[in-house]
Amino acid sequence: MASVAGNRFKQDERRRNADHVSFLKHRRFRWLWIALMLCIVTGLGYAMIDQEPRPNGGSWYGYTLGTIGLLLIVWLSLLGVRKRKITTGQWSLKAWTSAHVYLGLALIVVGTLHTGFQIGWNVHTLAYFLMLLVIISGIYGVIAYATLPSTLSSNRKEMTRAEMLDALTALDRQLESAAQPLGREQTDLVIAALEQDVFYGGAWGRLTGTYPGCKTNRALARISESGSEAEERVHALLVKRADQLGQIRRHLRIRALLEVWLFIHIPATIALLAALLAHVVSVFYYW
């Protein structure tokens, strides 16, 4: 019994350890090595096999590379389906993700060799560049996931998103009452600041963190710090508001940088599948 318990402990330990290994390092980079082998083998094949009149996608080696590439692309895009079905073991989601990343990178080599370096304004090259777009956005995604979450967390300063919004609305309520003594012009500035959507700025504003039309900053610039008592108070509250808004916007920026790749990766993947269908059908339609 003791040995059984011991085994069980070991087994559990191994699983626990495995749970904390990054998908990149999964099983000592098993998929990295497999992907590298794929690149080397296809590269050597390209260099050694004499394709007449010259290497291209229509030679037998070209068709072979194309088939490998097509199967890889279809399989890689199935990660979207696979990740919604949670299982463990041999084909755990982590294994899939690891293979997805490394085989996806290997696709750069396989796909490029399939083109035979022949590029043109056609559906074939469209598929190739969509593939590159998907892979490059994927590389960005891996880097973003590895680096950005820590900055996101440090920006939070132990506040939840709801608290950030609450803080802003609390400030807004105070601003509203503090601004009561102000004149028309300044009141309008405050109203504009309060009415502006917290999330104003669109995707570009979020990604770059630039908000040239920010009404809070505008009000801050025009309501004097050294005016009447009411102005002074409103100014102080606007500074607080701008600070709070700054935190929210930094959060938005990091979130956007963290998520933007998916808005390229996913639609481009589906577009790539469509372009691949057009590529394959057109090649055999006009065979």
């Binding site: 007449e52 291209n56 950030m164 919004l165 609450d166 938005l252 090649v283």
Partner: protein, 651 residues
């Protein structure tokens, strides 16, 4: 410090009830306990939850009493400092305490119950980038519909619903009926097919069926491109495929390709602006031919020609096409090994004409046209490349055709020369040398003058015995016998007089005609007399324009030997020892091998390594492939793309 506490409650009908009270303490306790300064009847609030105390300097401190957090300006904290002049908001449970102060007045605390914020969840979702971008699904669908619609559905539908224009090799402006199929092109067109770029259906005639030979021939048969052999014989004679190739081709043939002998298996389109005919050096390699021809007789037992794999080692003797009998209709191919006798129908001796000391030489020296002993080029001249181009391009005026020499063109040739030009094949069939024309090359000595009319000489028409008879029949100068003897007509009517008429029988001109056609007559100098239907005639002249019909030879390429020394005609053609017109002066295989050996031979001052393609073409046996004629074509020489560099490194 005094506090002004204002409680605002909202009735069920939405009306606000405001109650004010002042508390003159320096600290307040907020909690659920009844004795709290600010009593909040909310189970989420501790009995004593927060203490607000004077922190000095006009500031307030807020401090949690029970260890639970409270909200300060939206944050959950356990303690904090508040400047009432700036204002702050403390939230405890569902109550919100807005703290402020007007000037030096009491600290005002306004208590309100928070309405539940239904939109809070929505606001949180706004933190995701998805809130600022169209959804991934929308974008994916949009791209998919655009790509499949424009790049797949439009070409397929228009292809299926339209009729492709008919192929016409002479009309290069035809545009195909399929829309947007330009997006399907997998690479640039070859030089020859550049005009087909907008007419995909010209070659891709049937969906999902690879380009068929039949389609290629719909233009190329008309352009006079011959086939190497009939397809069944090509298949039979083809060398066995390697296992790998056999597997590939069995797959390809299952999918509808026409096999290794189909047009497109060698002529790959969509490889950019290359020259398809001279596309790759692979066809320039000896191996390309020797694969099949090395042991062709093992597979095709009835071939009339020998095996070949290397010009220096294994190549059959030349078999020029000549007439071996007078009056024969067809020339036959005879091996030079059998010392063939050419029956051209002419009498001619090269040695006599070429002898620099002989009578012919003396005569030539005396003639202004020559002024020296005869040279080969006095009678034989080759077509220049410019003349070949003129013939191929066509559109020639009569004057331009005249500059090509005194060639007896057929009506069909004349028509083509004036219009679309002669086919490549026809130009090659004309041979390397122009035909020897009697009037140009012989007549200076072998005069055809037969009469004098005033200051001019009359010349016999050459080439047709009927013309000759007609010309001679007009000659009426021979003396005729008098009808009566002893009496002459008087005055100007007498012989020699102005009005003299010859009433004698025209014996003389018949004799002249007969004499001309005799062995030692004017015709018999060069021709062999014969009788046709009891009438004097001449043996027809059968002199081929070219002798070696299945290989190309250019005299212009042989003006110098490999070392650059001038090459005399007589080094290959034994004219000085030829004293019969029946001698065939075509050099044999051995004579060519003095300089030309196979591809693998080392190049020296004497030896030129020679591939099959130097003399033979696959489709055009009478003209060679000459990729070196197109050094600037990509694919035919230096190419700087990565694949080509790798490819050349590999080689």
């Amino acid at each position: 410090m005094a506090f002004l506490i204002r409680t605002i409650d909202i009735t069920a009908s939405g009306r606000e009830i405001v109650r004010d009270r002042e508390v003159g303490k320096s600290e307040l306790v907020v909690g659920r306990a009844a004795e709290s300064d600010i009593h909040l009847a909310d189970l989420a609030v501790e009995q004593r939850h927060v203490r607000l105390a004077d922190a000095g300097g006009g500031m307030l401190s807020a401090e949690s009493l029970g260890g639970l957090e409270f909200g300060l300006d939206g944050r959950s904290v356990k303690e904090g400092t508040i400047d009432p002049n700036v204002g702050a908001e403390v939230s405890v449970g569902s109550a919100r305490l807005a703290i402020s102060r007007e000037g030096d007045g009491p600290v005002q605390i306004i208590i309100k119950q928070v309405e539940r914020d239904e939109a809070a969840g929505d606001a949180l979702s706004s933190f995701a980038l998805a809130a600022a971008l169209p959804s991934k699904r929308t974008m994916a669908w949009g791209f998919t519909v655009a790509i499949l619609g424009l790049l797949l559905a439009v070409p397929i539908v228009t292809n299926l619903t339209s009729t492709a224009p008919e192929n016409d090799p002479m009309d290069k402006d035809v545009v195909g009926a399929t829309k947007f199929d330009a997006a399907w092109i997998s690479g640039g067109m070859s030089v020859e097919h550049a005009h087909l770029e907008d007419n995909c259906e010209a070659c891709h005639a049937t969906p999902f069926v690879s380009v068929q030979d039949e389609t290629c021939l719909s233009c190329h048969e008309e352009l006079g491109l011959g086939d190497h052999a009939e397809m069944p014989r090509l298949r039979e004679g083809m060398a066995p495929l390697s296992t790998g190739d056999a597997i590939q081709w069995s797959i390809a043939e299952t999918l509808g390709k026409e096999g290794p002998l189909g047009c497109v298996s060698c002529h790959s389109e969509h490889e950019g602006p290359v020259d398809l005919a001279a596309e790759e050096h692979q066809f320039w390699d000896q191996q390309f031919c020797s694969d099949c021809h090395d042991d062709l007789d093992a597979r095709l037992t009835d071939v009339s020609f020998g095996n070949a794999n290397d010009f220096g080692d294994k190549h059959p003797q030349f078999r020029p096409l000549i007439y071996t009998a007078h009056f024969s209709d067809k020339p036959v191919r005879v091996s030079l090994d059998t010392e063939p006798v050419e029956m051209s129908g002419l009498k001619f001796t090269h040695d006599e004409h070429m002898d620099e000391q002989g009578g012919v030489a003396r005569m030539a020296i005396s003639l202004g046209k020559y002024g020296a002993p005869l040279e080969c080029s006095d009678c034989h001249s080759d077509w220049s490349e410019a003349e070949r181009d003129m013939m191929r391009e066509g559109g020639l005026a009569d004057a331009a055709i005249g500059t090509l020499g005194n060639v007896k063109w057929s009506q069909a040739d004349l028509k083509n020369l004036k219009q679309s030009g002669l086919s490549k094949r026809r130009v090659e069939d004309l041979g390397d040398y122009k035909p020897v024309v009697m009037e140009d090359s012989c007549e200076a000595c072998h005069s055809l003058v037969f009469d004098r009319a005033g200051p001019a000489f009359r010349t016999l028409r050459h080439g047709n015995v009927d013309d000759l008879m007609a010309d001679l029949a007009t000659m009426d100068r021979g003396p005729r016998g008098d009808i009566v003897s002893g009496r002459g007509r008087p005055g100007q009517f007498a012989r020699g007089g102005r009005y003299y008429s010859n009433f004698g029988r025209p014996m003389g001109l018949y004799i002249a005609i007969n004499r001309a056609l005799e062995r030692d007559g004017v015709c018999g100098e060069c021709h062999i007399p014969t009788m046709t239907d009891g009438r004097r005639d001449l043996t027809p002249v059968n002199l081929p324009n070219r002798f070696l019909m299945h290989g190309a030879f250019y005299h212009s390429a042989h003006e110098e030997d490999a070392a650059g020394n001038p090459l005399e005609c007589t080094e290959c053609h034994a004219t000085s020892t030829s004293n019969e017109a029946t001698d065939l002066l075509i050099p044999d295989l051995e004579s060519c091998r003095d300089c030309h050996l196979g591809e693998a031979a080392a190049k020296t001052e004497e030896i030129v390594p020679s591939t099959c393609a130097m003399c033979h073409g696959y489709h055009t046996p009478t003209s060679p492939w000459r990729p070196e004629d197109h050094p600037d074509m990509p694919g035919n020489g230096a190419n700087d793309n990565v694949a080509a560099i790798l490819s050349s490194l590999r080689r």
